[in-house]
Amino acid sequence: MTTKSAYLLADNVSPATVTNTSSLLRIIALALISGAAIASRLFAVINFESIIHEFDPWFNYRATRVLASQGFYAFWNWFDPTAWYPLGRVVGGTIYPGLMATSGVIYSVLHALNLPVDIRNICVLLAPGFSALTAWSTYMFTKEMKDESAGLLAAAFIGIVPGYISRSVAGSYDNEAIAIFLLMFTFFAWIKALKTGSAFFGTIAALFYFYMVAAWGMLSVFVFTLHKFSPRTLGGYAFITNMIPLHALALILMGRYSSRLYVGYSSWYAVGTLASMQVPFVGFQPVRTSEHMAALGVFGLLQIIAFAELVRSHVSSKQFQTLLFASVIGMGILGTLAIVGLTYKGWIAPWTGRFYSLWDTGYAKKYIPIIASVSEHQPTAWPSFFMDLQFLIFLFPAGVIMCFRQLRDEHVFVIIYAVVASYFAGVMVRLMLTLTPVVCVASAIAFSSLLDTYIDPTEPEIVEDSSTDVDAPQTEGSSNVAAPTPKKAKKAKDAAPLPSGPLSDIVSSVTAGSFKRGERPRGVFGLDTRLAVIVHAVGMLIFFVMHCTWVTANAYSSPSVVLSSQNPDGSQHIIDDFREAYYWLRQNTPEDAVVMSWWDYGYQIAGMADRPTLVDNNTWNNTHIATVGKAMSSSEEVAYPILRKHDVDYVLIIFGGLIGYSGDDINKFLWMVRIAQGVWPDEIQEPNYFTRTGEYRVDDAASATMKNSLMYKMSYYRFAELFGSNQAVDRVRGQQVPKTGPTLDYLDEAFTSENWIVRIYQVKKEDSLGRDLKSANAFAQGKKRKRTKPAPRRRAIQ
């Protein structure tokens, strides 16, 4: 041994024992990580109950129930007449069925094993279950990047990081629940295919890509919003379709074309695209929309390059250059013409509104109110990066720089992923989810390098001879490090010239065994330095765990269907108004009673109350939503014909003024106005709903249009009575509501929940005497009508 050791290692252990022990420990660690990932997602079930959360999951749950009870073909052809009444919704053709199919398969398997598990429990626990798989696939992915120890760290990070938990707590039965696993696994398979040049792994990547296409409707990084907006939407899979081509393109541009790349990419693209087109909702999009053009273009480019390589190996280099020159020009012209022609013919639609909304974050707000109205589409606030990622956000850049140090093909991937995901996470809150995996991977690389360096017992040598041709000694425990052997590192150095400059100096100073010949020896001396750094690092990890637990328990585990507050004595108080109201509808109204509400509550009404709704969270028809917006923001007289035309029996609104629930309809009201204004600019104008000084008020100063709007009337109907002789105060807006509240002529109050959060109104039938309901009401209250005279029948004789 030419090296000194900082601390003693047992050297009488055979290498086989070390390998076996470390792999056993790895398995145990992974199992524990999976357990922690699942357990930390169960706060929602423990604090509340086993219930489906939020909005979209209610639809997924409902669809899954259809799948489980009626079989796949019934589900595939399911036309839901109760959604978007009376337009209906072709569910089979407008969803990504992967999530439901997954639950359906699990359900069938369990039932085949005589385990009669309720479909609801499968749906509730699907996300935690898949988070364990995500941890495993992240481990596999990171292992390809660095080594097993980094993999374990990455798995642990992704297992408990709040940025991912926020979308995958128990009950959050949404596409993201399984999509992150598929994302990571597809990336892993792609990297593997690229590394080995294996068509097998390329096909595996393609299959998981297909699964992902089938599953992920909700999120796309490249153009996300899109789904919520139009039936021709793009799912999260577009993230993969663009990440992989981008990676391939970057490799080509870096001059790293290889037959491995060719085989991996071609097999992935051909199989994956054909498979993805089998999903009806995707259809021919992969060959027609701009979001998929990158993948197609890179595929074409690869063929050309491969062909050029072939030609080059057969002709002389002079001829080849002429040939290359001519063909590049020819193909450039042809390609441009083709794209122009296709766009002109309308076969491809490259520049849709959602495309712009990603680059210009203000675009959607300016032109597409319904996109901008979704809270998850707002730009991310800085604190939420820390909230969701905690110390990983600081380690993340370090990890990316580590990738630059080695810059193997797969590191290019992580770098591209990091850059792209960071940008999009800044654009939209929701896209934090796609940033999270790469943050975990990069941080794990950085953190494990740190641990490698400081746990490594090798003391730097003072001797000039720095050729460390000794394998890094094995250490024990879960921090088992297979630090890149100098050979490997050298190879990497040859492959990728190190970026020089101060940065590389800093970086190299933390990486073990990479100091250059002839320089002053660098490294870590003594045990105290090591201990100081490691204790701090472990401290960071501990705080990370505490932070994650706290955030998960307090911020991300609320089902939002059930609210909770604290009693004065600190005990939990459950506010269950939503379910109270939905069950009231379910039990007190005819089965075909149509319920109108703002679209946020459509899925919940369909899922819990089982009643037809006008609009729901699948916001595919802007005009229909605008119709509801118009009804809500017009006066009763204008709204009534709209309600009658759509057979509306009940109107449901959310009102938080009594209890201080800020997510209520009055706060969303301006969006209804804006969306309605987009379709009927002559009838609805946003400025009319503000006071003269431009304030949005609900008290005496509110504008007449505001006070006459159906939404205002329904919200504050009889509200002041509740306060008796005291001044009525709206606790959300903090404003005093007029003492004489609004009156309703065309609607009857049917139900108001315990805390007034949900109010349901019944639409009156037309008056049997053919009067308008206002005068009918006045008559019923005993008001005398003005005497009228017969109308003139002819013109006055002059």
Partner: protein, 462 residues
């Protein structure tokens, strides 16, 4: 009553409600032997609220006519508390006759509001007015009737006659409610002008020469001139004025407003309109009460059904572009034998297939040889959604027919699309040629020359 098709689970809304009340006529179309009493489709109990000032004997012809037709008459004065017209929100009689044209104060159960409530609960009302202002005057305006100022009865100087100017013989215009051979009718009372309400059914209009005047004399003529100078505003004159006007509410109940109660009196019934010609008042009273009490011009939709062409059972959903047969059975009430009879007499019935707007609007003609049945076959639109079969037949005087049956129209199932498309031949050829090419290539590859491997082996062995 669920007249709709109940074998489907689709939504059937039949607004038309005939059997809501437990009147005798309603539920026994199939048990005619039980029916001995009423000729009305609604029941036979009639409450007559009669002003004590009016002599009951003076209306004996009218009341006896009702009794003969099988009605049970119960009399009470406007101020009697009992029997109440409505108790515990339930109407107590099938029909109400309100002959209290000059009563200023009624018992607490009779208010304009309660009378409207009665109509909403399917009770028919016959109301008489007078030139005096009463609570009923304000009620009339709810029915889109505009009464002249108090104390202005209708007068006419034509034709020349020996009666006062306010007792006028009115020749009825032909309509479906009145018998075709009706002699002129004596009328004395107040006219009203009609607003633009499609629910109003004019039964008897004023003669063209008549007008409303301040007194029973001729003094009011000046007001008339004033009004005509203002372009006719406030002009209660001419043949557009109503004297007896029916009103059919949206739910099918009927109310008839009569300008003067004397139309039903024995005196007018026996009075001659001209030499040797008896007045038509008796027949008129019978006709008006028959219409008001829903004996005449009463229709109902018995059932509706729908199925695909060449099938017989209805489906829960139809596919776009299906050919659908829709049929409806319609009955008309026959007061002579007090039963519902199939009725094929509607020539202009229409069917709409509606989603927000009618996508299909077609005639629904009667089927020859099947009385009461109306049927049409049409192609469903190429548009999926929740559609309604709507029959909406509203004709003046007749019961409104309204039926709406909801049925979803769905896109074809995944296996209902055509399998082989001629347009897709390039793709078929592509697939076939690629498969063939692959087979040939594999065959050549496997069976081809293996010199190289041999050479390799040989070098190894060497």
């Amino acid at each position: 009553m669920e007249t709709g098709l109940s074998t489907t689970s689709t939504r059937t809304v039949t607004v038309f409600k005939l059997h809501e009340r437990d009147g005798i006529g309603g539920k026994q179309p199939h048990l005619p032997f039980l029916v001995i009493s009423s000729k009305s489709s609604k029941g036979d109990s009639v409450l007559v609220i009669l002003d004590p000032k009016l002599d009951r004997d003076n209306y004996s012809i009218f009341f006896n006519g009702l009794r003969e037709r099988g009605y049970n008459l119960t009399f009470r004065s406007p101020k009697d508390p009992k029997p109440a017209i409505i108790e515990f929100e339930q109407p107590q009689f099938s029909h109400v006759i309100l002959f209290a044209p000059e009563t200023k104060s009624f018992a607490s159960d009779i208010t304009p509001q309660s009378l409207v409530q009665l109509l909403e609960k399917d009770t028919n009302i016959l109301i008489a007015l007078s030139p005096k202002q009463t609570p009923l005057t304000s009620l009339a305006s709810e029915f889109s009737l505009i009464l002249p100022p108090p104390g202005t009865p209708l007068i006419s100087h034509f034709p020349e006659r020996d009666t006062p100017e306010n007792v006028i013989p009115v020749t009825p215009t032909r309509n479906e409610i009145l018998s075709s051979t009706l002699a002129p009718v004596w009328f004395s009372g107040v006219p009203f002008s009609l607003q633009n309400n499609p629910l109003l059914v004019p039964i008897l209009n004023a003669p063209a020469e008549s007008f409303a005047s301040d007194s029973e004399g001729d003094n009011g003529a000046n007001a008339l001139v004033d009004a005509s100078e203002k372009g006719g505003e406030g002009l209660w004159a001419g043949s557009s004025l109503g004297l007896v006007t029916g009103f059919q509410t949206l739910n099918g109940a009927r109310a008839t407003w009569v300008g003067g109660v004397d139309v039903f009196s024995d005196e007018y019934a026996q009075k001659e309109v001209s030499e040797g010609v008896k007045s038509g008042n008796k027949q008129f009273g019978a006709d008006v009460s028959a219409w008001t009490f829903q004996e005449s011009l009463v229709l109902r939709v018995d059932s509706v059904s729908h199925h695909r062409v060449n099938e017989t059972t209805p489906r829960e959903t139809y596919t776009t572009n299906d050919r659908i047969v829709f049929s409806a059975e319609i009955s008309r009430y026959n007061p002579k034998i007090a039963t519902w009879e199939p009725y094929s007499g509607i020539g202009d019935l229409q069917l709409e297939f509606t989603m927000l707007d009618p996508h299909v609007r077609t005639a629904l003609p009667p089927v020859a040889g099947q009385p009461g049945k109306y049927s049409v076959a049409f192609r469903a639109p190429d548009r999926h959604g929740v559609f309604k079969f709507v029959i909406n037949h509203k004709r003046r005087g007749w019961t409104h027919l309204h039926s709406s049956t909801v049925v979803p129209l769905v896109p074809p199932r995944h296996d209902e699309y055509p399998r082989f498309l001629s347009a897709a031949w390039p793709y078929y050829l592509g697939a076939i040629s690629t498969s063939l090419g692959f087979l040939i290539f594999s065959a050549l590859w496997l069976a081809g020359d293996d010199r190289e491997t041999k050479r390799g082996k040989s070098t190894k062995t060497e």
